[in-house]
């Protein structure tokens, strides 16, 4: 059994069917990419899995249904979402944002983990007492990722971590994603930048208009004519 098993997942906003019954899975330790154009339903998928939207169909995490788990309980289960737009606490310092990430923890290693995040993102270490709202977009993305890692997730879901970032910063963020994955965290990565996503992922899904139209190894998807045409601009 995979860590995350999704079968025939449907989400509607009023009368709008954003997800029309998708199936996907993420195995323990795997990095899976979910790609698709604007409005395909990528964010909707992650929100439903994080407990921010009601869904119908099946979503099992560690062999247990997520259906009646509230969003805050899913964090306890080990699911963390870095949302689209980052959602940092603008009026809190970088340090306090990281401490919020460790909200569910009561162990003695929180301070040590904060140092580890600072090692991962030295830029944050310099700005630990700065208000997160005054950081650049890239720095906020680092805060959002660091904060999510502070909960010590088993499954990390990232919604367009490259959005709005300069190429150098995008590279830095993707290096970090590789790094986190290498440490054994399972990752579900949503990206519009299909090339980047498929380069770091092991497997991928293509989402179009609320349906999954392709699924394969990341290498095969990168090479497939359909993906090249639709998402890689060649």
């Amino acid at each position: 059994m995979s860590l995350l098993e999704v079968h025939d997942l449907k989400v509607a906003y009023g009368g709008i069917h954003a997800l029309k019954g998708i199936s996907l899975s993420v195995a323990q330790g795997e990095l899976v990419a979910l790609i698709g154009s604007n409005g395909a339903g990528k964010t909707t998928t992650l929100k439903a899995l994080a407990g921010l939207l009601p869904y119908s169909g099946k979503a099992h995490y560690q062999n247990t249904s997520l259906l009646h788990r509230a969003s805050h309980q899913r964090v306890l289960d080990g699911i963390a979402l870095v949302p689209e737009g980052r959602g940092v606490f603008a009026r809190m310092s970088v340090l306090e944002n990281l401490q919020m990430g460790a909200y569910i923890r009561h162990d003695k290693e929180i301070a040590q983990d904060i140092e580890r995040i600072y090692d991962l993102f030295p830029r944050l270490a310099e700005r630990r007492s700065q208000l997160a709202g005054t950081l650049s977009g890239g720095e906020q993305q680092m805060v959002a990722m660091g904060r999510a890692l502070m909960s010590r997730p088993t499954l990390l879901m990232l919604d367009e971590p490259s959005m709005g970032l300069a190429p150098l910063m995008v590279e830095k963020i993707f290096d970090t994603i590789r790094n986190i994955s290498a440490q054994g965290v399972s990752i579900l990565l949503v990206e519009q930048n299909a090339k980047l996503a498929l380069e770091v992922a092991q497997r991928g899904y293509v989402l179009e208009n609320g349906n999954i139209t392709l699924e394969d190894s990341a290498a095969n998807l990168l090479g497939s004519a359909a993906v090249q045409r639709a998402y890689l601009g060649s």
């Binding site: 509230a70 979402l81 959602g87 940092v88 606490f89 009026r91 809190m92 909200y103 909960s151």
Partner: protein, 307 residues
């Protein structure tokens, strides 16, 4: 007698009470964007419960200090339960309703509490027993009673405690997180409903303490006492910048001073046309002036964004 100094002392005492009550309005507003108009009635319930407890305990011949302590604890506990229930029953079902709905409900809850209190305790004024030694001290040309000193000291203590709680603890951080972004907070594993309940309970605990303070200062309690006090504390919260904790404290103390100095000098300034009985109107002149000239209050930044 030094009128200026005396009015400043009176203003600080009354301002301490306003500050405690204003904090309750501002905490709830900060976290829910809701004006809890029933909050003033919680102050009244706190005073009533304390009075009832004092009467019973005094009859049991306990020492006055112990009686006071137990009554305060009981009033705080009852008000916390009341605050929790108000949120649970009246506001939570309307969490996603249009903004007018919870406002109307708040006024409804306020009437219900007032009328319940009237049924239980009647329409008459009850005298609130003096439990602390009511010695007074002369400073400059003014008089301050020990009750007043106690009120100001306890208010400072309670407010310091609240600030430490909000800024230094895990719970306080969660409260600020929920106030800022509920979705993000829930993604951190924060149980939003629990934090909202806790906020109502904290505000209500402050209200209970404030209720006992005014009762001890003036020596009377009445089922209607929460109404005007609530409105004035709300004014203080708006004056300081609603949603801002420091603002509520500053607004409370300032309003206390404005009222008391206004009452002391209004007659002289208007050549006897307006007397000190216009004191209550003064608070609302302040409210209107703030709303016209500085709607975000003294320390508030972004009220309009939330509205």
């Amino acid at each position: 007698m030094d009128i200026l100094l005396q009015q400043i002392i009176n203003g600080l005492v009354q301002g301490s009470v306003y500050a405690l009550v204003a904090l309750g309005y501002t905490m709830v507003y900060g976290i829910l964007g809701l004006i809890n108009f029933a909050h003033g009635e919680v102050v009244m319930v706190g005073a009533m419960i304390a009075l009832a407890a004092i009467q019973v305990l005094l009859a049991a011949a306990l020492s006055p200090l112990l009686v006071l302590l137990l009554s305060v604890l009981l009033a705080v506990a009852v008000c916390m339960a009341l605050g929790y229930s108000i949120e649970r029953i009246a506001y939570r079902p309307l969490r996603h309703a249009p903004r007018l709905a919870p406002l109307i409900t708040a006024i409804g809850v306020s009437f219900v509490l007032q009328n319940l209190a009237m049924i239980i305790w009647g329409r008459e004024y009850h005298s609130f027993p003096q439990l602390l030694p009511n010695a007074s001290h002369h400073i400059g040309g003014a008089i301050i009673t020990e009750v007043q000193i106690t009120i100001v000291l306890i208010a400072i203590l309670v407010m310091t405690g609240l600030m430490l709680l909000v800024h230094r603890t895990r719970l306080g951080r969660a409260m600020r997180a929920v106030a800022e972004n509920q979705t993000s907070a829930s993604l951190m594993g924060v149980n939003i409903n629990k934090v909202i309940s806790t906020t109502f309970m904290l505000g209500s605990a402050l209200a209970a303490i404030a209720g006992i303070m005014v009762s001890a200062n003036y020596g009377v309690v009445h089922y209607y006492m929460g109404f005007m006090l609530g409105l004035k504390a709300f004014t203080a919260a708006v004056l300081g910048g609603i949603g801002n904790l420091r603002g509520a404290m500053l607004g409370g103390v300032l309003l206390g001073l404005i009222e008391s100095l206004g009452a002391g000098y209004m007659g002289a300034l208007t050549g006897g046309i307006l007397g000190s009985h216009y004191q209550d109107a003064l608070a609302f002149v302040v409210l209107i002036a703030v709303l016209v000239f500085r709607p975000s209050g003294l320390l508030g930044e972004r009220v309009s964004e939330r509205a």
